[in-house]
């Protein structure tokens, strides 16, 4: 489709830019409020930029105070909350789960895609079947299990169920169907062991799917909220989203502090997205295309 008329073109750009603003405004607001001078945070009408930027030039005599006030939210956050701890918890749980999922799901996906063994169909349909079931169904049984295993209020309670998610197995299987079996046969004839064939041939060929699965797993774990607020009740063990919720519950009125916390939680995901944008897009279209 070619847009010929220039008025149409301008209208198109106008509509898209308005939506882009609506889309990015919440994130912009997080950073803008985090850096806003405290006396403007609740201004009516709302101030659209951190006023410190303006006052820095209009009131040169107060520069050090303005700088101090601009970053006061972050200072308070690092001094009076466990934000570093939460950040560290979120990061290491996300890394552990991502690495684990990549290893487990690549192995399982490989077996389902490339091995003819009795029970293969049953395994596959079990996985597809449970993918359709909403997560809320298992909430209560998982809760009882975690309690009985004595894992309540530990990070294991988050890591183990996350490592059991099946979407990755499905994704890896779909991708590995395209690996030519001749290659694997050739390796076998050359006398390579199963394990060696897997690591030297299968894994390198599956790299694009690994990148996609890794990114989506990391993002989901980093942002997960419902299960962590149920099983964690020790502030030292909180992940970022849980920590942010408790901050909100305690300091309803301190928007600047809340938004500073939100900024700390948002930055890593924004960086990951900008760095791996291609894989995000690939991953989305990979999941949606029906063979």
């Amino acid at each position: 489709m070619q847009i010929k008329h220039s008025p149409m073109k301008w209208l198109t750009y106008f509509v898209l830019f308005v939506w882009a603003i609506i889309s990015l405004l919440p994130l912009y607001w997080v950073f803008s409020t985090a850096l806003q001078l405290p006396n403007y945070v609740e201004a009516d009408p709302p101030k659209l930029i951190p006023m410190g930027i303006v006052e820095f030039f209009t009131h040169p005599e107060n520069r050090s105070l303005i700088l101090h006030d601009t970053f006061a939210g972050f200072q308070q956050l690092f001094q009076s909350t466990n934000i570093w701890r939460w950040f560290f918890n979120s990061a290491y749980i996300a890394v552990v789960v991502t690495v684990g999922i990549l290893v487990l799901d690549t192995m399982a996906g490989y077996a389902l895609a490339k091995k003819e063994f009795p029970g293969r169909k049953l395994f596959f349909w079990l996985i597809v079947g449970t993918m359709m079931i909403p997560g809320q169904i298992t909430l209560v049984p998982l809760f009882i299990m975690v309690q009985n295993l004595g894992l309540m209020n530990t990070h294991w309670a988050l890591i183990l169920p996350d490592l059991s998610m099946v979407f990755g197995v499905f994704l890896m299987r779909q991708y590995m169907l395209s690996i030519p079996s001749d290659l694997l046969e050739a390796a076998k004839i050359d006398g390579a062991s199963e394990w060696k064939t897997f690591w030297t041939i299968v894994v390198p060929l599956a790299k694009p799917a690994l990148a996609t699965l890794g990114i989506f797993t990391f993002m989901n774990v980093w942002n997960s909220f419902l299960w962590p607020i149920i099983v964690l009740n020790d502030a030292d063990l909180y992940t970022l989203p849980v920590g942010l919720k408790t901050l909100q519950d305690q300091n309803l009125a301190i928007f600047k502090l809340l938004m500073s916390g939100a900024a700390v939680a948002a930055v890593p995901m924004i960086v990951v997205f900008v760095a791996f944008q291609r894989h995000f897009i690939k991953g989305l279209t990979l999941g949606g295309v029906k063979e």
């Binding site: 919440p26 709302p46 395994f123 996985i127 079931i133 298992t138 009882i144 909100q248 939680a265």
Partner: protein, 318 residues
């Protein structure tokens, strides 16, 4: 390593499978399993986790729904929990709210994605990737953060929403704390969060439509709008159905923003199925009842899903 002789024998036994007595067939199955032992070892680690933390909990959920759960043992109560679900005023309200939310947000989310993708698709490569990124970025940030910002947007005294509506002469409202506006505030928020996933999927699907179709239509004198309506929209049908499905499942499970913005209140004005399940299980500790509610949610989702598939196949035959 098996000798070629063994494999030959095996294919023969497979061919004669129907003719061989079961005892021998069982032996060859075991032999086949032993031959493929590597496959089972590859599956084993995930298999154990999957069984422990997915399969057993799913089965258990269905068992729990027929029990009265107690710390010192559970007793069977048959369909009592489901009866309580059917009779409960709170559940009806939650179901009604969830349906209201779904009926408004799902079509709008899909439609907005289609319109945005249509506008983006003729643009140059750089403009395309800019807008794609702009619409997808909020999707990667936690709903917790988005909900925090929107709480401020709807703030009675200094929120953006009242400020913008002030220009239109609409009096300021406390949107999230009035039972007649709270649900609508959440619906508006869901519609205005850009459908990043939808835009990306539609764009990918549009890319795969051959240009020759458009050229042929052009020669036949079809206008741009006609070409879009007659070629693009019908060919995007599978994507539309897939996105509707995703959006449906998502809106049946809406929860995070409810918990953070209204807590289901005021009263039960913004109670949804999942927020009710959450309260039943973890505030009232009624595990059996919560499981029954979750299963009802699952069945409703399933019904909608099957209806979708049915529409898809029927449409495919047209």
């Amino acid at each position: 390593m098996s000798s070629p002789q063994a494999t030959e024998e095996l294919t023969k036994t497979q061919l004669d499978a129907k003719a061989t007595p079961p005892a021998i067939r069982r032996k060859s199955l075991l032999r086949e399993m032993w031959k493929q032992r590597a496959a089972y070892l590859f599956l084993l680690p995930k298999g154990i986790l999957f069984t422990a933390f997915v399969l057993i909990p799913v089965i258990w959920a269905f068992v729990l729904a027929f029990q009265e759960y107690g710390v010192f043992g559970s007793e069977w109560v048959g369909f009592k929990n489901f009866k309580s679900v059917a009779d409960s005023e709170a559940f009806r309200t939650a179901l009604w709210n969830t349906l209201k939310y779904t009926v408004v947000t799902v079509p709008l989310q899909v439609l907005i994605a289609l319109v945005l993708a249509t506008l983006i698709s003729p643009l140059g490569r750089r403009a395309q990737s800019f807008f794609r990124g702009a619409f997808y970025l909020p999707t990667v940030t936690s709903m917790v953060i988005i909900a925090m910002v929107w709480r401020w947007v709807y703030n009675y005294r200094y929120g953006l929403f009242n400020y913008v509506l002030g220009f239109l002469g609409v009096p300021a409202q406390d949107w999230l704390n009035q039972s007649n506006t709270a649900l609508w505030a959440l619906i508006i928020m869901s519609v205005l969060i850009p459908p990043g996933v939808g835009v990306i999927m539609y764009l990918a699907a549009m890319d795969s439509i051959p240009d020759s179709l458009y050229e042929a239509a052009k020669i036949d004198g079809a206008s741009e709008v006609q070409r879009w309506w007659r070629i693009t929209v019908p060919l995007l049908k599978p994507t539309t159905l897939y996105l509707t499905m995703l959006s449906l499942i998502g809106s049946f499970q809406v929860f995070t923003q409810i918990l953070l913005m209204t807590g289901g209140g005021p009263g039960h004005a913004t109670e949804t199925l999942v927020s009710l399940i959450y309260k039943t299980a973890f505030r009232d500790l009624e595990f059996g009842l919560a499981s029954a509610q979750a299963i009802v949610l699952f069945v409703i989702t399933l019904i909608f899903g099957i209806a979708q598939y049915w529409l898809m196949y029927r449409k495919a035959e047209d």
